[in-house]
């Protein structure tokens, strides 16, 4: 086999054979095919696409580049979730323990954030002592005893994807639905879950800006999951306006704890319950029974109990105070009116500039930094009302954060229509 022949075949719009796909992924993982050949192949794939068969083989080859975690010792039904990422998207934090509290087992292997969308691991690291590195054995034990882990993916989970993901970033090949789908699904399939619910974000604060693109991505991932034997469904959810009232690592943990305590912002609670229902249904559990019902498990404290057990099992102290940023600024309303627009993207940029996110993989994040907003679309405000609080450890970061927030809110006279949180559900169609 020759890499050039494979590149040329895809470039000219031909299908790649299963053998070609397995060979190129294997060779790249081993390092016998260099970055420049994979770079031009990725651009050709971005241009020409991959059909269902190619995509299934591509994903499987990435899984086969490492280990597939064996969770067969876990007796509860295994079900995971994945979000394509959005501003203020802290849903994994209340959702995973909630599903465990309702009888599922959630092997949530997660990642760090890059750019304006935060990462679950960064948020969890706000908790004193919490350890994100578990062995496969620890993971299986904790899933059986507590029903949930949130931890980092090991180096041997889809190593081909790690190389491809890093390369795509520098060669302008991130925005390809087959490449995005296979990247996400290879890791989720390799982690050993039986069912999977995808939260595909749509809107200004998300990677996918339009419903059409998000639907295509969701359908592609659902197809990959089913072909690999993982029962997969997807919800398309709104990310024009941010979730909850906080963006930032410790700020979002605090808000998640509110939700786990049966309170919290209505949208975060609604989406958490809705995704929990989908996960429990996918896991074959009857959510009309009290022991499997997520609304009840949030309201009676069972979900919070599981959170505390999970944090302790991973070395964390759920009682420890969360980090608070050293400095704070306020933004107040200039004039009275109705909040017609609250832009998730602008708020994400502000939080990122304040230190909540990173520009490069090697950067550290600030646990306390971020933005709290005090209004939502449709709210009435008076002149002088508090709109935003900004938090940073480094005062020099406020200028950039404040600048980003100037375009984050519009105050006008027409009350905007409320947008639904869940836009569509995507299931597998043969």
């Amino acid at each position: 086999m020759h890499a050039v022949e494979i590149i040329i075949a895809k470039r000219d719009g031909h299908e790649l054979s299963d053998e070609q796909i397995r060979w190129i992924i294997d060779s790249y993982t081993k390092g016998t095919v260099p970055d420049e050949q994979i770079a031009s192949l990725l651009m050709a794939i971005l241009w020409r696409g991959m059909n269902d068969r190619e995509l299934a083989t591509w994903t499987q080859a990435m899984i086969d580049s490492g280990e597939r975690i064996d969770l067969s010792s876990v007796t509860r039904p295994l079900v995971d979730k994945h979000s394509t990422g959005g501003v203020g998207d802290k849903i994994s934090l209340p959702l995973c323990p909630l599903v465990a509290a309702c009888g599922g087992a959630v092997p949530q292997l997660s990642g760090r954030g890059l750019g304006i969308t935060g990462g679950t691991l960064d948020k969890m690291e706000s908790i004193a002592g919490w350890n994100m590195m578990l062995t496969n054995e620890q993971m299986a034990e904790q899933l059986e005893s507590i029903g949930v882990v949130i931890c980092a993916a090991g180096a041997d989970l889809a190593p081909a994807d790690k190389k491809l993901y890093a390369l795509r970033d520098v060669v302008g090949c991130v925005e390809s639905i087959p490449l995005i789908s296979s990247s996400i699904m290879s890791k989720k399939i390799a982690e050993g879950t039986q069912s999977l619910v995808l939260d595909v974000k749509v809107g200004r604060g998300a990677f996918m800006k339009t419903v059409d693109n998000a639907r295509t991505l969701a359908q592609t991932m659902v197809g990959i999951g089913h072909r690999a034997g993982v029962n997969t469904v997807a919800l398309l959810t709104n990310m024009d306006t941010p979730l909850g009232f906080t963006a930032g690592n410790a700020l979002e943990v605090r808000e998640s704890l509110e939700v786990l305590s049966g309170r919290g912002p209505a949208d975060v609670r609604e989406l958490t319950i809705r995704l929990a229902e989908e996960m429990l249904l996918a896991a074959g559990l009857d959510i009309t029974l009290p022991e499997h019902n997520p609304t009840m498990a949030l309201d009676d404290g069972r979900a919070l109990d599981v959170w505390n057990q999970m944090v302790r099992a991973q070395g964390g102290d759920p009682e420890a105070p969360l980090p608070v940023a050293a400095h704070r600024r306020e933004v107040k309303a200039d004039a009275a009116g109705i909040v017609t627009d609250l832009d998730a993207y602008a708020i994400g940029v502000a939080a990122w500039r304040l230190g909540a996110g990173r520009a490069r993989k090697e950067d550290a994040v600030s646990a306390g930094a971020g933005v709290v907003w005090h209004v939502r679309e449709g709210d009435d405000v008076k002149a002088g009302d508090l709109l935003f609080e900004l938090f940073a450890d480094d005062e020099s970061r406020f200028d950039g954060g404040l600048e980003a927030l100037t375009s984050a809110i519009k105050i006008g006279s027409d009350r905007p229509n409320a947008r639904p949180l869940v836009l569509e559900k995507i299931t597998f169609v043969h």
Copy 2:
């Protein structure tokens, strides 16, 4: 500037700015932008193309990556030719001294062959003592005194093109008209010629298989030339059937000497004269005058005299016997009939396998190896007539050469239509 932004702009179908193009070519030449980023950019260019302005800037940036040779001391009109390469294409050998004999100065910087199309330097190296390395000063002096040099391009001539050319080969980005055009034209413009005639080959034995593709390539190169101040025209010429009766280094030198002696195969002589006329016209010389008339200069020995002077000036011995391969095989006709087809590509493969060409840049070539054919399309043959002679220094190469030739000739009953040698002339259109 960021390479990723440039890649994404081209990927999404936007024009690149002059500044972006100059920055990326300069950074790649210096090595501060790595191969993998250029690889994906090249695939995006192959996909999206470049407009006239982008292409002019891209070509100029490649020229500016090295030196532009100063030939202003040469008082004769400078005119060069370039062929896109074909099987048995020895035209440069008689053509360059012929144009010099008619009053032009021909700075023919040439290359080695790769794959089935031979390289002028490989052919010239059949001549004992001949030296392909000249300084710029030697080049200018010889152009003034003799009117022609055939030599290797120095390392400082369009070094960006050297890197890009090698990369394109391994990342499946050879077949892009903007990339081919800018590669050829950057070297020809940098060598300092004032006028240029392009021989764009079309057909089975050429890189461009269809007239439409060849015309687009020719128009693109002619446009680049004019925008850079080089008076450029192109001929599209047939390469379905090979030129002359020989393919192989020393074999083609011998055939070229026949043409320079006023004899030789009719097609080689015709194309040599036709291209000489175009070059002399482009150089502003009146070919109706005897001193500028190429037919007369071939027939009265002036062109051969210039050849002998050029070879001697570059250390070669024009009297020395040419190398002859150690071994020879014959292929004879099985049955009587008419030659309906003689395939340039198959003959090129045979010559290459016999040792006339190289598979990798580092390989040496055999001077004596190659193929001589004794028939042309439309000829009558009897059973037992000699069709091909094969020459090789290494007997083990005959099997591969003979195998390639089994598909090179078709003998049937219908006389084929003669195909014209020159298909079209392409001039600059604003």
